[in-house]
Subunit: 177 residues, 2 copies
DNA sequence: ACAGCCATGTAACTTGTTACATGATTTT
DNA sequence: AAAATCATGTAACAAGTTACATGGCTGT
Protein backbone atom coordinates (compact mmCIF):
# COMPACT_ATOMS: atom_id res chain seq x y z
CA UNK A 1 0.00 0.00 0.00
CA UNK A 2 3.03 2.27 0.08
CA UNK A 3 2.64 3.59 -3.41
CA UNK A 4 -1.08 4.25 -3.14
CA UNK A 5 -0.58 6.18 0.07
CA UNK A 6 2.44 8.02 -1.22
CA UNK A 7 0.52 9.36 -4.17
CA UNK A 8 -2.41 10.31 -1.97
CA UNK A 9 -0.06 12.10 0.42
CA UNK A 10 1.48 14.13 -2.39
CA UNK A 11 -1.98 15.07 -3.61
CA UNK A 12 -2.87 16.33 -0.15
CA UNK A 13 -0.56 19.25 -0.77
CA UNK A 14 -2.22 20.33 -4.02
CA UNK A 15 -3.53 18.83 -7.26
CA UNK A 16 -0.82 17.21 -9.34
CA UNK A 17 -0.50 15.22 -12.55
CA UNK A 18 0.96 11.76 -13.03
CA UNK A 19 4.42 12.52 -14.27
CA UNK A 20 4.83 15.17 -11.61
CA UNK A 21 3.89 12.74 -8.86
CA UNK A 22 6.70 10.46 -9.89
CA UNK A 23 9.20 13.32 -10.00
CA UNK A 24 8.21 14.59 -6.59
CA UNK A 25 8.25 11.13 -5.05
CA UNK A 26 11.84 10.76 -6.22
CA UNK A 27 12.76 14.23 -4.99
CA UNK A 28 11.70 13.22 -1.51
CA UNK A 29 12.89 9.62 -1.28
CA UNK A 30 15.94 9.53 -3.54
CA UNK A 31 16.92 6.80 -5.92
CA UNK A 32 16.69 3.83 -3.58
CA UNK A 33 13.10 3.01 -4.47
CA UNK A 34 12.56 3.84 -8.12
CA UNK A 35 8.96 4.25 -9.16
CA UNK A 36 8.08 3.12 -12.65
CA UNK A 37 6.06 5.79 -14.42
CA UNK A 38 3.61 3.24 -15.74
CA UNK A 39 2.81 2.28 -12.19
CA UNK A 40 1.89 5.84 -11.31
CA UNK A 41 -0.85 5.77 -13.94
CA UNK A 42 -2.17 2.34 -13.00
CA UNK A 43 -2.25 3.36 -9.36
CA UNK A 44 -4.01 6.62 -10.20
CA UNK A 45 -6.63 4.67 -12.15
CA UNK A 46 -7.24 2.43 -9.17
CA UNK A 47 -7.39 5.32 -6.73
CA UNK A 48 -9.96 7.01 -8.95
CA UNK A 49 -11.91 3.75 -9.20
CA UNK A 50 -11.92 3.56 -5.39
CA UNK A 51 -13.17 7.11 -5.01
CA UNK A 52 -10.01 8.45 -3.40
CA UNK A 53 -9.13 10.97 -6.11
CA UNK A 54 -10.83 12.69 -9.01
CA UNK A 55 -9.70 14.29 -12.25
CA UNK A 56 -9.61 18.01 -12.11
CA UNK A 57 -9.49 19.17 -15.70
CA UNK A 58 -6.12 20.56 -16.64
CA UNK A 59 -3.68 23.18 -15.40
CA UNK A 60 -3.53 25.28 -18.55
CA UNK A 61 -0.54 23.34 -19.85
CA UNK A 62 -2.74 20.37 -20.76
CA UNK A 63 -1.72 18.23 -17.81
CA UNK A 64 -4.33 15.96 -16.27
CA UNK A 65 -4.61 17.01 -12.67
CA UNK A 66 -5.87 14.80 -9.89
CA UNK A 67 -7.03 15.96 -6.51
CA UNK A 68 -8.22 14.24 -3.35
CA UNK A 69 -11.85 13.50 -2.69
CA UNK A 70 -13.03 13.79 0.93
CA UNK A 71 -12.59 10.02 1.24
CA UNK A 72 -9.05 10.34 -0.09
CA UNK A 73 -8.24 13.12 2.36
CA UNK A 74 -9.49 10.92 5.20
CA UNK A 75 -7.36 8.08 3.97
CA UNK A 76 -4.21 10.23 3.98
CA UNK A 77 -4.89 11.61 7.44
CA UNK A 78 -5.42 8.13 8.79
CA UNK A 79 -2.30 6.83 7.08
CA UNK A 80 -0.13 9.61 8.43
CA UNK A 81 -1.26 9.42 12.00
CA UNK A 82 -1.44 5.63 12.26
CA UNK A 83 1.94 4.10 13.16
CA UNK A 84 3.27 1.33 10.96
CA UNK A 85 2.13 -1.88 12.62
CA UNK A 86 4.90 -4.05 14.00
CA UNK A 87 2.65 -6.99 14.87
CA UNK A 88 2.82 -8.40 11.34
CA UNK A 89 6.14 -7.10 10.01
CA UNK A 90 6.96 -7.72 6.37
CA UNK A 91 8.72 -11.01 5.72
CA UNK A 92 12.47 -10.70 5.85
CA UNK A 93 13.82 -12.78 3.00
CA UNK A 94 17.30 -12.97 4.45
CA UNK A 95 16.11 -14.16 7.85
CA UNK A 96 13.89 -16.76 6.22
CA UNK A 97 16.70 -17.96 4.01
CA UNK A 98 19.14 -18.41 6.87
CA UNK A 99 16.56 -20.01 9.16
CA UNK A 100 15.72 -22.56 6.47
CA UNK A 101 19.31 -23.12 5.42
CA UNK A 102 20.26 -23.83 9.01
CA UNK A 103 17.68 -26.58 9.34
CA UNK A 104 18.12 -28.24 5.97
CA UNK A 105 20.87 -30.68 5.06
CA UNK A 106 23.56 -29.73 2.60
CA UNK A 107 23.27 -25.96 2.88
CA UNK A 108 26.50 -24.04 3.34
CA UNK A 109 25.22 -21.65 5.99
CA UNK A 110 28.65 -20.16 6.65
CA UNK A 111 29.09 -19.44 2.96
CA UNK A 112 25.69 -17.78 2.73
CA UNK A 113 26.51 -15.56 5.69
CA UNK A 114 29.85 -14.51 4.28
CA UNK A 115 28.50 -13.81 0.80
CA UNK A 116 25.62 -11.81 2.23
CA UNK A 117 27.90 -9.81 4.49
CA UNK A 118 30.05 -8.83 1.53
CA UNK A 119 26.99 -7.61 -0.35
CA UNK A 120 25.52 -5.80 2.64
CA UNK A 121 28.79 -4.06 3.50
CA UNK A 122 29.14 -2.91 -0.10
CA UNK A 123 25.61 -1.52 0.00
CA UNK A 124 26.42 0.17 3.29
CA UNK A 125 29.41 1.89 1.72
CA UNK A 126 27.33 3.07 -1.21
CA UNK A 127 24.66 4.48 1.06
CA UNK A 128 27.30 6.22 3.15
CA UNK A 129 28.93 7.71 0.08
CA UNK A 130 25.57 8.83 -1.29
CA UNK A 131 24.86 10.41 2.04
CA UNK A 132 28.12 12.34 2.03
CA UNK A 133 27.53 13.51 -1.54
CA UNK A 134 24.01 14.67 -0.78
CA UNK A 135 25.01 17.52 1.45
CA UNK A 136 22.00 18.73 3.36
CA UNK A 137 20.67 21.78 1.63
CA UNK A 138 18.22 23.91 3.56
CA UNK A 139 15.42 22.51 1.38
CA UNK A 140 13.13 20.07 3.14
CA UNK A 141 13.28 17.63 0.26
CA UNK A 142 17.02 17.31 0.80
CA UNK A 143 16.54 16.60 4.47
CA UNK A 144 13.92 14.02 3.56
CA UNK A 145 16.30 12.23 1.20
CA UNK A 146 18.94 12.30 3.90
CA UNK A 147 16.58 10.68 6.38
CA UNK A 148 15.79 7.96 3.89
CA UNK A 149 19.51 7.28 3.43
CA UNK A 150 19.95 7.21 7.21
CA UNK A 151 17.17 4.66 7.40
CA UNK A 152 18.84 2.46 4.81
CA UNK A 153 22.15 2.79 6.62
CA UNK A 154 20.70 1.88 10.01
CA UNK A 155 18.84 -1.11 8.60
CA UNK A 156 21.89 -2.38 6.76
CA UNK A 157 24.14 -1.92 9.78
CA UNK A 158 21.66 -3.93 11.81
CA UNK A 159 21.74 -6.61 9.13
CA UNK A 160 25.52 -6.86 9.23
CA UNK A 161 25.56 -7.11 13.00
CA UNK A 162 22.89 -9.79 12.80
CA UNK A 163 25.01 -11.74 10.32
CA UNK A 164 27.91 -11.57 12.78
CA UNK A 165 25.66 -12.95 15.48
CA UNK A 166 24.48 -15.75 13.19
CA UNK A 167 28.05 -16.67 12.44
CA UNK A 168 28.95 -16.80 16.11
CA UNK A 169 25.88 -18.98 16.79
CA UNK A 170 26.86 -21.24 13.94
CA UNK A 171 30.35 -21.73 15.35
CA UNK A 172 28.86 -22.79 18.66
CA UNK A 173 26.79 -25.38 16.85
CA UNK A 174 29.37 -26.86 14.53
CA UNK A 175 31.75 -27.39 17.38
CA UNK A 176 33.36 -25.01 19.85
CA UNK A 177 36.88 -25.52 18.48
CA UNK B 1 9.13 -14.62 -3.87
CA UNK B 2 9.83 -15.58 -0.29
CA UNK B 3 7.02 -18.06 0.01
CA UNK B 4 7.74 -19.78 -3.28
CA UNK B 5 11.36 -20.23 -2.35
CA UNK B 6 10.60 -21.27 1.19
CA UNK B 7 8.38 -24.11 0.02
CA UNK B 8 10.95 -25.19 -2.55
CA UNK B 9 13.66 -25.16 0.11
CA UNK B 10 11.62 -27.36 2.42
CA UNK B 11 10.98 -29.79 -0.44
CA UNK B 12 14.71 -30.03 -1.07
CA UNK B 13 14.98 -32.02 2.12
CA UNK B 14 12.40 -34.62 1.14
CA UNK B 15 8.92 -34.86 -0.40
CA UNK B 16 6.27 -33.22 1.71
CA UNK B 17 2.55 -32.43 1.55
CA UNK B 18 0.87 -29.07 1.79
CA UNK B 19 -0.25 -28.97 5.36
CA UNK B 20 3.11 -30.30 6.48
CA UNK B 21 4.92 -27.52 4.61
CA UNK B 22 3.04 -24.91 6.54
CA UNK B 23 3.74 -26.61 9.87
CA UNK B 24 7.43 -26.92 9.15
CA UNK B 25 7.71 -23.34 7.93
CA UNK B 26 6.27 -22.20 11.26
CA UNK B 27 8.56 -24.54 13.21
CA UNK B 28 11.55 -22.82 11.65
CA UNK B 29 10.47 -19.18 11.53
CA UNK B 30 8.12 -18.85 14.51
CA UNK B 31 4.91 -16.91 14.65
CA UNK B 32 6.12 -13.57 13.30
CA UNK B 33 5.22 -14.35 9.69
CA UNK B 34 2.11 -16.53 9.71
CA UNK B 35 1.48 -18.45 6.54
CA UNK B 36 -2.14 -18.91 5.53
CA UNK B 37 -2.79 -22.54 4.65
CA UNK B 38 -4.72 -21.59 1.55
CA UNK B 39 -1.70 -19.81 0.27
CA UNK B 40 0.39 -22.96 0.55
CA UNK B 41 -1.93 -24.71 -1.88
CA UNK B 42 -2.14 -21.84 -4.34
CA UNK B 43 1.64 -21.54 -4.28
CA UNK B 44 2.06 -25.26 -4.78
CA UNK B 45 -0.28 -25.10 -7.79
CA UNK B 46 1.80 -22.33 -9.31
CA UNK B 47 5.07 -24.10 -8.61
CA UNK B 48 3.72 -27.19 -10.31
CA UNK B 49 2.51 -25.07 -13.25
CA UNK B 50 6.01 -23.63 -13.54
CA UNK B 51 7.65 -27.04 -13.55
CA UNK B 52 9.41 -26.60 -10.22
CA UNK B 53 7.66 -29.43 -8.39
CA UNK B 54 5.64 -32.52 -9.21
CA UNK B 55 3.08 -34.64 -7.41
CA UNK B 56 4.46 -37.81 -6.08
CA UNK B 57 1.46 -40.02 -5.36
CA UNK B 58 0.86 -40.42 -1.65
CA UNK B 59 2.75 -41.48 1.44
CA UNK B 60 0.51 -44.35 2.49
CA UNK B 61 -1.55 -42.05 4.70
CA UNK B 62 -3.28 -40.49 1.72
CA UNK B 63 -1.29 -37.26 1.75
CA UNK B 64 -0.45 -35.66 -1.56
CA UNK B 65 3.31 -35.44 -1.68
CA UNK B 66 5.23 -32.99 -3.80
CA UNK B 67 8.88 -33.26 -4.73
CA UNK B 68 11.33 -31.06 -6.60
CA UNK B 69 11.89 -31.41 -10.31
CA UNK B 70 15.46 -30.85 -11.54
CA UNK B 71 14.46 -27.29 -12.42
CA UNK B 72 13.10 -26.81 -8.91
CA UNK B 73 16.30 -28.16 -7.36
CA UNK B 74 18.29 -25.70 -9.46
CA UNK B 75 16.07 -22.89 -8.32
CA UNK B 76 16.61 -23.71 -4.64
CA UNK B 77 20.36 -24.00 -5.03
CA UNK B 78 20.49 -20.64 -6.79
CA UNK B 79 18.26 -19.03 -4.20
CA UNK B 80 20.34 -20.27 -1.30
CA UNK B 81 23.71 -19.30 -2.66
CA UNK B 82 22.67 -15.93 -4.11
CA UNK B 83 22.80 -13.13 -1.52
CA UNK B 84 19.72 -11.00 -1.07
CA UNK B 85 20.27 -8.01 -3.35
CA UNK B 86 20.67 -4.71 -1.56
CA UNK B 87 20.63 -2.60 -4.71
CA UNK B 88 16.82 -2.49 -4.81
CA UNK B 89 15.83 -2.95 -1.18
CA UNK B 90 12.13 -3.35 -0.37
CA UNK B 91 10.31 -0.09 0.21
CA UNK B 92 10.31 0.96 3.83
CA UNK B 93 6.85 2.26 4.57
CA UNK B 94 7.93 4.11 7.69
CA UNK B 95 10.79 5.91 5.96
CA UNK B 96 8.50 6.89 3.09
CA UNK B 97 5.86 8.13 5.47
CA UNK B 98 8.25 10.32 7.42
CA UNK B 99 10.00 11.64 4.33
CA UNK B 100 6.68 12.68 2.85
CA UNK B 101 5.27 14.03 6.09
CA UNK B 102 8.35 16.19 6.51
CA UNK B 103 7.88 17.84 3.14
CA UNK B 104 4.13 18.32 3.21
CA UNK B 105 2.27 21.07 5.01
CA UNK B 106 0.14 20.33 8.00
CA UNK B 107 1.69 17.02 9.00
CA UNK B 108 2.58 16.57 12.65
CA UNK B 109 5.96 14.96 12.11
CA UNK B 110 6.88 15.04 15.78
CA UNK B 111 3.64 13.29 16.67
CA UNK B 112 4.18 10.61 14.05
CA UNK B 113 7.67 9.94 15.38
CA UNK B 114 6.50 9.66 18.97
CA UNK B 115 3.55 7.43 18.16
CA UNK B 116 5.74 5.19 16.03
CA UNK B 117 8.40 4.95 18.70
CA UNK B 118 5.83 3.81 21.24
CA UNK B 119 4.66 1.07 18.88
CA UNK B 120 8.17 -0.01 17.94
CA UNK B 121 9.37 -0.15 21.54
CA UNK B 122 6.38 -2.25 22.49
CA UNK B 123 7.12 -4.63 19.63
CA UNK B 124 10.73 -4.74 20.76
CA UNK B 125 9.69 -5.75 24.25
CA UNK B 126 7.45 -8.48 22.88
CA UNK B 127 10.21 -9.87 20.70
CA UNK B 128 12.59 -9.79 23.64
CA UNK B 129 10.12 -11.60 25.86
CA UNK B 130 9.42 -14.18 23.17
CA UNK B 131 13.14 -14.68 22.83
CA UNK B 132 13.56 -15.28 26.53
CA UNK B 133 10.64 -17.71 26.62
CA UNK B 134 11.96 -19.67 23.66
CA UNK B 135 14.95 -21.11 25.45
CA UNK B 136 17.37 -22.51 22.94
CA UNK B 137 16.84 -26.23 22.77
CA UNK B 138 19.52 -28.28 21.08
CA UNK B 139 17.17 -28.72 18.11
CA UNK B 140 18.13 -26.76 15.03
CA UNK B 141 14.58 -25.54 14.50
CA UNK B 142 14.75 -23.82 17.90
CA UNK B 143 18.00 -22.11 16.98
CA UNK B 144 16.42 -21.03 13.68
CA UNK B 145 13.45 -19.44 15.46
CA UNK B 146 15.87 -17.71 17.80
CA UNK B 147 17.78 -16.24 14.89
CA UNK B 148 14.56 -14.95 13.37
CA UNK B 149 13.69 -13.26 16.65
CA UNK B 150 17.19 -11.78 16.81
CA UNK B 151 16.68 -10.40 13.33
CA UNK B 152 13.40 -8.77 14.30
CA UNK B 153 15.00 -7.34 17.42
CA UNK B 154 17.96 -5.89 15.54
CA UNK B 155 15.74 -4.36 12.86
CA UNK B 156 13.40 -2.85 15.42
CA UNK B 157 16.25 -1.47 17.50
CA UNK B 158 17.64 0.16 14.37
CA UNK B 159 14.21 1.62 13.70
CA UNK B 160 13.99 3.16 17.17
CA UNK B 161 17.46 4.65 16.87
CA UNK B 162 16.52 6.04 13.48
CA UNK B 163 13.40 7.63 14.97
CA UNK B 164 15.60 9.29 17.60
CA UNK B 165 17.79 10.67 14.85
CA UNK B 166 14.77 11.94 12.95
CA UNK B 167 13.53 13.71 16.04
CA UNK B 168 16.88 15.38 16.59
CA UNK B 169 16.96 16.47 12.95
CA UNK B 170 13.46 17.81 13.28
CA UNK B 171 14.43 19.91 16.30
CA UNK B 172 17.27 21.46 14.32
CA UNK B 173 14.79 22.43 11.62
CA UNK B 174 11.95 23.77 13.70
CA UNK B 175 14.29 26.05 15.58
CA UNK B 176 17.27 25.32 17.81
CA UNK B 177 15.54 26.47 20.97
C1' DA C 1 17.55 15.34 -38.21
C1' DC C 2 18.08 13.05 -34.04
C1' DA C 3 18.32 12.07 -29.17
C1' DG C 4 16.26 12.57 -25.14
C1' DC C 5 13.02 14.04 -21.99
C1' DC C 6 8.00 15.11 -20.97
C1' DA C 7 3.57 13.03 -20.65
C1' DT C 8 -0.21 9.58 -20.74
C1' DG C 9 -1.68 5.42 -21.03
C1' DT C 10 -2.74 -0.08 -21.68
C1' DA C 11 -2.21 -5.15 -21.47
C1' DA C 12 -0.51 -8.72 -19.34
C1' DC C 13 1.35 -10.58 -15.65
C1' DT C 14 3.20 -12.10 -10.68
C1' DT C 15 3.01 -12.74 -5.91
C1' DG C 16 0.53 -12.48 -2.04
C1' DT C 17 -3.84 -12.83 0.51
C1' DT C 18 -8.23 -14.09 2.30
C1' DA C 19 -12.85 -16.04 2.62
C1' DC C 20 -15.15 -19.88 1.87
C1' DA C 21 -16.31 -25.00 1.13
C1' DT C 22 -15.59 -29.70 2.22
C1' DG C 23 -14.68 -33.72 4.69
C1' DA C 24 -11.78 -36.87 7.78
C1' DT C 25 -9.79 -37.66 12.11
C1' DT C 26 -8.81 -36.72 16.88
C1' DT C 27 -9.59 -34.89 21.33
C1' DT C 28 -12.48 -33.48 25.10
C1' DA D 1 -21.87 -35.24 20.86
C1' DA D 2 -19.18 -31.24 20.14
C1' DA D 3 -14.99 -28.92 19.29
C1' DA D 4 -10.66 -28.78 17.48
C1' DT D 5 -7.30 -30.08 14.41
C1' DC D 6 -5.82 -32.24 10.03
C1' DA D 7 -6.05 -31.82 5.16
C1' DT D 8 -7.11 -30.14 0.44
C1' DG D 9 -8.71 -27.09 -2.28
C1' DT D 10 -11.21 -22.80 -5.11
C1' DA D 11 -12.71 -18.13 -6.32
C1' DA D 12 -11.86 -13.65 -6.20
C1' DC D 13 -9.18 -10.01 -5.52
C1' DA D 14 -5.23 -6.43 -4.24
C1' DA D 15 -0.96 -4.42 -5.14
C1' DG D 16 2.98 -4.20 -7.56
C1' DT D 17 5.60 -4.51 -11.91
C1' DT D 18 7.04 -4.15 -16.58
C1' DA D 19 6.93 -3.95 -21.57
C1' DC D 20 5.03 -1.63 -24.97
C1' DA D 21 2.61 2.19 -27.72
C1' DT D 22 1.97 6.90 -28.63
C1' DG D 23 2.85 11.63 -29.33
C1' DG D 24 4.71 16.37 -28.16
C1' DC D 25 8.43 19.21 -27.07
C1' DT D 26 13.45 20.62 -26.50
C1' DG D 27 18.18 20.92 -27.18
C1' DT D 28 22.15 19.95 -30.11
Amino acid sequence: MSIRHSLLALLQDRPRYGYQLRTEFHERTGSAWPLNIGQVYTTLDRLERDGMISRDGDDGAGHILYSLTPAGADEVRTWLRTPVGRSNPPRNELAIKLALALTLPGADVGGIIQAQRAVSIRALQEYTRARRDAAAQPRLTDTARLLVLDSLIFQTEAEVRWLDLCEARLMQLTGPA
